[in-house]
Amino acid sequence: MADAKSNESSDQLNRFDFIKQAVGRGAALTLGWMGGMSVFGAREQNTVWQIDPDKCVQCEHCATDCVVSPSAVKCVQSYPICGYCRLCFGYFLPNAPELTSAAENQLCPTGAIERLFVEDPYWEYNILEDYCIGCAKCVKACEMFGNASFYLQVRHNVCVNCNECSIAMQCPADAWERLPADKPYLLRHKEREETMEDAFNLPE
């Protein structure tokens, strides 16, 4: 009887061992979960919205549906792609009376494109983001008749990164996607990626 009792007691956990094992396993699970989240979960969380310029159809929802006003979507200029044309179809209205920067010649409704003379026959076009409303009129014309150097991007110094982006929900081309926060732009000219990211002066 004494041996049987002894064996029975060795197979059963006493209260102290039970608590010790439970705490140990719980701690391991917690550490595992935290480790897993730090590797995978955080990547899921630290993402931002962006527009794929190759899918964008310039529907103008970006100008009207953003919770920020004016929109956090802005036109950006890819200088290596731009043709620096005297007649820029993204800048001038079709059949503009004259190729000057007078307002009646401009396609942009807010005058958000700066036109600077470089040297004959080249002109430089810069986006003034404070004025840009993301309407994509210039993007559409540049895509159709030019080098497609104008395209839309979400500017992360303006975007509030909503959980459900109100523009993405309206986008007819499924052009919106989540990108890692440390690579937040879809740039047409890859060679310029690093310098442009610096130029964009991303918030911390």
Partner: protein, 497 residues
């Protein structure tokens, strides 16, 4: 118990709070943008020579530079080819872009595509070739030399026979070269991107004469340089300076200007080329300037007389040339939103009167850089990118403006050239993909497809001579064997000259 005095104090406090909140929202509610006055960038426009003050005079013209068009000649090791075939200039014989020679062409291509006979690097641009008696002529731009260069190659081997060039520094502006030479058995005439016209002896390249249309005739070089290809009619070169004179005929042998047509309205040069056609029984040179269309007599006794003009067809940017589709009808088309127009002609009181018959929206029929083909009483074109659902499709349209068929949404093309030979249509895409289809009124029937050029912006007009298809991308000239006897595949002969 609340007294009236207390009630008044509460109400006043509430109103004060609301007023304060309103004022706070008014001034803190949103960052307002500064209102700035936007005016013409006067220093920039002045520097570019485009600033014209209201009521004032235009900016001073830039200093004239005299270009020695005789330039330099260099004999090279190539030999004149054996072929007797001809592609006379822009759009070939009859200027309809339909090959006339009798060599049958293959209906199918092997998986590797048609045989590449030779290829030659070019200066960046979109110039096309003219071919005669085994010689291939092209007005290239030599970036190192900084000048327009007429190069003559052997059609058989692609080896350069000679080159003649003159200094005319021109900056790359979506490429440099643009045009196709015009030739006879004896002469070759070229138009450079900055409107220098040169005539040389065929085969030998001996300089005959040259013209500077900007300096001598007040031409304004169009945006991205001129695409106007010279025309040869008999013993004259016909060009349209669209400056102090609208059009003129130049004697091929002497360079003497035989006749000029006035340009009273100062209409500007476009990228379009002069087309000769018969309108109401009169041989007529038809030219589309930026501001309107003119019809100039090509009849021997009245050559150069202005027969009619119309500002109903005016486009800021215009590349396609006019197409005569009937003795009393000319068809015009354009890209960049221009659409198309059919113009009719009638004679009243001894004068020819042009009048628009109908206009077509850009989504129905248009073309950005190429001139449509008139074939079997129908027009064929590639619609531009702003044609909505029809963008990039190859379409066939009757002369009433009804689209008969289109290539469909799976067969779209770009700004590249298309031509017809041996009842087949050849379409070159921007990125050097060549499609062969049946030239038919029944629908788009694809016969072959091949990647034939490595580069981009393959926009130059093509040429076919005795089964040899000559095309190019922005930097490479390529000759393919598309004849019925070709075995296919590439021999990769690239000549680095």
């Amino acid at each position: 118990m609340v007294t009236d005095r207390q009630l008044t104090i509460y109400a006043m406090t509430l109103l004060t709070g609301v007023a304060a909140g309103f004022l706070y929202l008014l001034f803190q509610g949103g960052k307002s943008l500064p209102i700035t006055t936007r005016v013409t960038d006067i220093p920039a426009e002045t520097a570019a020579g485009t600033y014209k003050p209201v009521g004032g005079v235009a900016a001073a013209p830039k200093a004239e530079v005299v270009v020695d068009l005789e330039g330099e000649f260099e004999k090279l090791e190539g030999e004149i080819g054996t072929s007797a075939g001809t592609w006379e200039g822009f759009r070939g014989a009859d200027a309809d872009n339909i090959a006339k020679d009798s060599v049958p062409l293959s209906d199918t291509w092997p998986p590797g595509g048609p045989t590449q006979l030779w290829s030659v690097p070019m200066g960046e641009g979109h110039a096309g070739v003219a071919v005669d008696q085994g010689c291939v002529y092209i007005l290239d731009y030599d970036k190192e030399y900084q000048g327009d260069t007429l190069r003559c190659f052997s059609l058989d081997t692609g080896i350069e026979i000679w080159r003649r060039r003159y200094k005319a520094p021109t900056k790359n502006n979506h490429g440099v070269s643009r045009t196709v030479p015009a030739l006879t058995k004896d002469y070759v005439v070229t138009m450079g991107p900055r409107c220098f016209v040169m005539c040389v002896r065929a085969k030998t390249g001996d300089f005959v004469w040259g013209l500077d249309l900007v300096k001598d005739y007040g031409t304004s070089v169009p945006l991205w340089y001129t695409g106007q290809c010279p025309l040869i009619d008999g013993n004259e070169a016909i060009v349209a300076p669209s400056g102090t004179t609208m059009m003129m005929g130049v004697d091929l042998a002497t360079g003497a200007v035989n006749w000029t047509t006035t340009n009273e309205d100062q209409w500007k040069m476009s990228h379009s080329s002069i087309m000769k056609m018969e309108i109401l029984g009169k041989q007529t040179y038809v030219y589309c300037s930026q501001n309107g269309v003119v019809g100039v007599s090509a009849e021997p006794d009245t050559k150069g007389d202005l027969l009619w003009k119309s500002s109903d067809w005016a486009q800021n940017v215009l590349s396609p040339s006019p197409i005569g589709v009937a003795p009393d009808k000319v068809f015009f088309t354009a890209g960049y939103g221009g659409g198309s127009m059919m113009m009719g002609f009638k004679e009243e009181g001894g004068k020819i009167i042009p009048e628009p018959l109908f206009k077509l929206d850009k989504t129905i029929f248009a073309c950005e850089q190429q001139t449509p083909i008139f074939y079997q009483n129908h027009l064929f074109s590639i619609l531009p990118k702003d044609a909505g659902a029809m963008r990039g499709q190859f379409v066939c349209m009757d002369l009433e403006g009804n689209v008969v068929w289109s290539s469909g949404k799976t067969e779209r093309f770009g700004l590249g050239p298309y031509m017809i030979a041996d009842d087949k249509v050849y379409i070159l895409n921007d990125n050097g993909e060549l499609t062969m289809a049946r030239a038919s009124l029944d629908g788009f029937q694809k016969l072959g497809f091949a990647e034939v050029a490595p580069g981009h912006d393959a926009w130059a007009p093509m040429a076919i001579v005795e089964g040899k298809l000559i095309l190019r991308d922005s930097k490479m000239l390529i000759c393919l064997d598309v004849s019925a006897g070709s075995s296919g595949g590439s021999n990769n002969l690239t000549l680095n000259q």
